[in-house]
Each structure stands twice: as C-alpha cells, then as structure tokens.
C-alpha cells in the first residue's frame, strides 16, 4: 500500500516542478484524527468490560488439559494493562465516548457519500487484481512496478473500505449487546446475545490488526505520505505547464471538490 511508489498518471517530461497536490480533504483529515483517540478509548474501555468476567470468554482450547491454543486476548495483556476490576469505569467511558465515535463515523459516511469521495475509496473492478499485485509487491514477492492507481491502490481501497464497514458492524453489534431487550431485533440479526458479543470482540481484534499493519505501511510509504494526512497535500513532480488551480481554470467542473479542499 506504499504510496511513494505511486506511478505518476501524467507523462513525465524533462522539465518538472514540485507542486503540492491535495490528497486528503480537510474534512477527512479531521475525521481520521478524531477517530484515532476515540477508537483508542473505545478499545481500552471495551477491554475493561471484556475482562470483567475474569476469563477470556472467547478463548478456544483443549478442555482436557485446559490449554488454550487461541485466545482473543492472552492473559498477559490483562495483567500488563491491569484491566480487571475496572468494569464500572469501562462502562462509563464506553457508553459516553461511544456516542462521539458514532457521530464521527456517521459524519464520515455522509461526507464520503455526498462529496463523491467514495469514488476514491470503494473498490472498483480493478481493485481485487491490483490488491493482489500490491500485496505481492509489499511482501517482496514481486518486483514489477505497481499497477496505476488514483489516490489509493487496490489494497488500500479494499482494506480501508472493509475497516470502515467493520466500524459500522462494531457500532451495530455494540448496540445489540448494550440493549439486547430494547433492540432485540438487532441482537437477533447478529445471531443472539452471545454471538453479538463474539462479533463485537472479533471486530475489535480486526481493528487492532488493522492498526498494526496500517502503521507499518505508513512507515514504509514515507514521510511525505504521512504528512499528507496532516497537511492534506503531497508534494509531487509535475511537468511545467500542467498546473491547474481554480484560478487558472475557473470553469473547471470540479468546484464541488474544491469547496471541500482547503486551498
């Protein structure tokens, strides 16, 4: 998913200049960075709730010898973060900050839909094949240049879309566990109370997995890519004469996007 290796989509000519191209709009940057601490609070307070039972309820294992070959969360995490006996605190944070997480998520979904940003995000007919190429490339299995891409490559389109969808599932299963009587249609939809809990925790594990890979990929993609999530812009070489700004082309059919951009 490294974006520094992105192929320029215009022909490279002899004379180039450094220009800054908008990559992440102001709205999406704010929502991305607001989401980060909120999700952290949700996961941490959620773990306090998870460990209230003092057993790892979703560990699977060989019952005879009591040996677990898989734990959602090994006990060492519980011990290191001293999560047990903090249930009341966990619930207080989870059910208050949860609303902020929901509001931010709904705002992002509405924004992505209304602004047309979804065209940069959702996988299209090329993304599946491209994603395979990108993953092979990132795992050093393949040395050919990366397939062309717009803002995100195929692997990014898939993983970002999936993680956002999982955000929605986290919220829905969360409500299914929170109000299993009042919202029992939702609880039933996810296969009942226990099943809703399993899904909710599995999605949390997926968030943590995503976070690790996301950090590795950002580190690999380099400083310029990282700063674009802060400033919005990424510096690129462009052939002289190809510059287009709203000043140069006032009638360009992309005023919608410009309104969302902070030029």
């Amino acid at each position: 998913m490294s974006t520094t290796e992105q192929q320029p989509v215009w022909p490279v000519e002899d004379e180039t200049e450094k220009v800054a191209v908008l990559k992440h709009t102001r709205a999406s940057r704010w929502m991305h960075w607001i989401n980060f601490p909120l999700l952290t609070i949700m996961i941490y307070s959620g773990l306090r709730i998870y460990w209230a039972d003092l057993r790892d309820p979703f560990g699977f294992g060989v019952g005879l010898v009591g040996w677990h070959w898989f734990d959602f969360l090994p006990d060492v995490i519980n011990e290191e973060l001293s999560l047990d006996r903090k249930l009341a605190k966990g619930m207080a944070y989870h059910f208050t900050f949860g609303w902020l997480f929901v509001i931010n998520g709904v705002a992002y979904a509405l924004y992505t839909w209304r602004s047309g940003e979804w065209r940069q995000l959702l996988p299209d007919r090329y993304s599946a094949r491209d994603a395979v190429e990108v993953v092979k490339h990132d795992l050093f299995i393949r040395n050919k240049p990366l397939p062309p891409q717009a803002r995100y490559n195929g692997a990014q389109r898939w993983s970002y879309s999936i993680i956002i969808g999982l955000g929605g599932i986290a919220v829905l299963t969360g409500f299914a566990i929170y109000k299993p009587t009042q919202l029992n249609f939702l609880t039933t939809l996810f296969g009942g109370y226990e099943s809703s809990r399993t899904i909710h925790f599995a999605v949390t594990m997926a968030f943590i997995g995503f976070f690790v890979i996301h950090l590795l990929q950002v580190a690999r993609a380099g400083w310029g890519n990282f700063t674009s999530m802060v400033t919005g812009y990424q510096l690129v070489d462009r052939p002289v004469g190809r510059r287009t700004t709203d000043e140069d082309t006032p009638d360009a059919p992309r005023t919608d996007e410009l309104e969302n951009a902070d030029v």
Binding site: V9, W10, K18, V19, A20, V21, L22, K23, W33, P37, I41, I49, A52, D53, L54, P57, L87, A88, K89, M91, A92, Y93, F95, T96, R119, Q120, D124, Y126, P147, P148, Q149, A150, R151, K179, P180, T181, Q182, N184, T187, T188, Y193, E194, R197, T227, V230, T231, G232, Y233, L235, R238, R243, T244, T245, D246, R254, E257, L258, A261, D262, V263
Partner: protein, 267 residues
C-alpha cells in the same frame, strides 16, 4: 493479453481522471499551509489530551467522574424515551436452559430461617403497609418464563424462572398508595444489599417475585426464599432474598450505583 492491456489503459485513464480533479498549489502556498496545519493539529491534540485528563479528574459522583455520570443519565433519559410499552425480552425454549452461575453473595452471607422469613412492604413515608409469608406469594398463579439472564460482567445464561408477576402482587397496594410512586427500593433482610428500580421496570410483565429456578425451589445462593428477576435489567438489579420492598417517590440508592455503576442498568 491484448485484452489485459486494453483494461490497463482504461484503468489508467479512469484513475488519471480521478486524480486530475485534485486541487494543486505551489510550493510557497504549501509551506504556509503546512505550518498552519501542523500548528492547528498540535493545538487540537493538546486540547484533546487536556480535555481527556479533565474528564478523568472530575469530582466523583458515586465513584464515577461526574461528566461520565451525566453520560449515564443522558443514556437513561434517551433509552427511557425510546422504550415502548409492551415490549418484551425474548423468551427461549425451556430445553435451552443451563445451570446458572452463582456470582454475588452480598446480603445473603448469613444463614436465615426460612420459616420465620417475611416480606415487608413499605410506603413512601416508611410506614409498614403489609407483611407477607411465602403462601401469600404462591397464592398467585405461578408464571414460568425462560429468558436470558445477563450479568453486567458479560456472561449470560438461559434460565427458567417461576414466580409471581410483580404487577399482580402490587395490585393489592394500589388503593393504599393511590397512584403508584415512581420508584421501588428492595433490600435484603440484613440490609447489606439494596437495589433501586424505576416503577415502569417493576411493573413490566416479565418482572417477577421469583421462588423457582429450573422448576426447583430457589437454593439459598440463588436467593431463597424469594428474589427479584427481570430480563430487562442486569443481574445486579435482581436482588436475592428480598426482605423489604419500599415504594418511594425519590430515586432510591443502589448498592452498585454507589460503587460506580449506572443506576438504570437497563437492557
């Protein structure tokens, strides 16, 4: 392979079109913009960290920072507003029941003599409205329901309760009380454990004065001779070994509420 290269060309064209939409600024504007973005971001991160510390360090209201206590109260108001009369918790087939885990021993640590046990019912002014023996409770038609019993800790069991629906029992006090007060407080005989309930939850058709579990009389650890059960609240509200039921106009305190939990604890 020509098919693939045509595809590649179409893809390149499509992505180039998407990227052509992106606004471009020159380096000088980028530098100015970046400095502003970094400054705004840094200050926002600082403000967020300070706010979070502020929440965590707020004065405690029943062992929860007052801001988060208001959060619980906001949620209670919201879910009360969204509640519908006659909405029922899902019921299950009796064959799905499993043995219920014993969790809390608060208020039932001392042995009691079940023969001398009695249930006291008190009015808002603390006056004794009546006392009952088990015969008074079992005189009502027995209701059995198989529901999912949920602990605030996260575990749950499908169990079959047998008992008297509380609203039927309370009917005899309607005349004495006039309109039923807003709240009900329940206590164990030794007063060590106590819960506060809203009257709507108490009068819900699935809220029972329960004396049987899986068709057997309640064991001591499950709250013999009589306990409260309702699938609409966590187990912390389902008091074992009821000694006193008090109708009251003021929100009664609650054992786990005083220890940091949500008062409403509604499912």
């Amino acid at each position: 392979m020509s098919d693939n290269s045509a595809k590649d060309a179409a893809r390149a064209e499509r992505y180039a079109a998407l990227e052509a939409e992106a606004p471009v600024i020159d380096r000088a504007a980028y530098g100015k913009h970046s400095r502003r973005a970094v400054l705004t971001g840094g200050l926002t991160a600082l403000a967020a960290a300070v706010s979070f510390r502020w929440v965590a360090n707020r004065p405690l209201d029943n062992r929860t920072p007052d801001v988060l206590r208001r959060g619980h109260e906001f949620n209670e108001a919201l879910w009360r507003r969204l509640s519908r009369d006659g909405a029922m918790a899902p019921t299950f087939d009796r064959s799905e029941s499993s043995e219920l885990r014993v969790n809390g021993r608060h208020g039932i640590r001392e042995e009691i003599d079940l023969d001398t046990w009695e249930l006291r019912v008190e009015g808002p002014d603390g006056s004794l409205l009546g006392t009952h023996q088990m015969d008074d409770i079992t005189a009502f038609a027995k209701t059995e329901m198989t529901i999912e019993h949920k602990c605030v800790e996260g575990w749950s069991h499908v169990v079959t309760w047998g008992g008297t629906v509380f609203s039927e029992f309370a009917e005899q006090y309607r005349e004495q009380l006039g309109d039923l007060p807003e709240f009900v407080s329940l206590e164990t005989p030794d007063g060590d454990y106590y819960v506060g309930m809203d009257i709507a939850s108490m009068l819900h058709p699935q809220t029972m004065l329960t004396y049987e579990l899986q068709g057997e009389p309640l064991s001591s650890l499950h709250g013999a001779p009589l306990r409260l059960t309702t699938p609409n609240k966590y187990g912390i509200k389902q008091l074992k070994r009821i000694g006193t039921i008090r109708f009251t106009n003021e929100q009664p305190t609650d054992y786990w509420y005083e220890r940091g939990y949500d008062w409403y604890a509604q499912l």
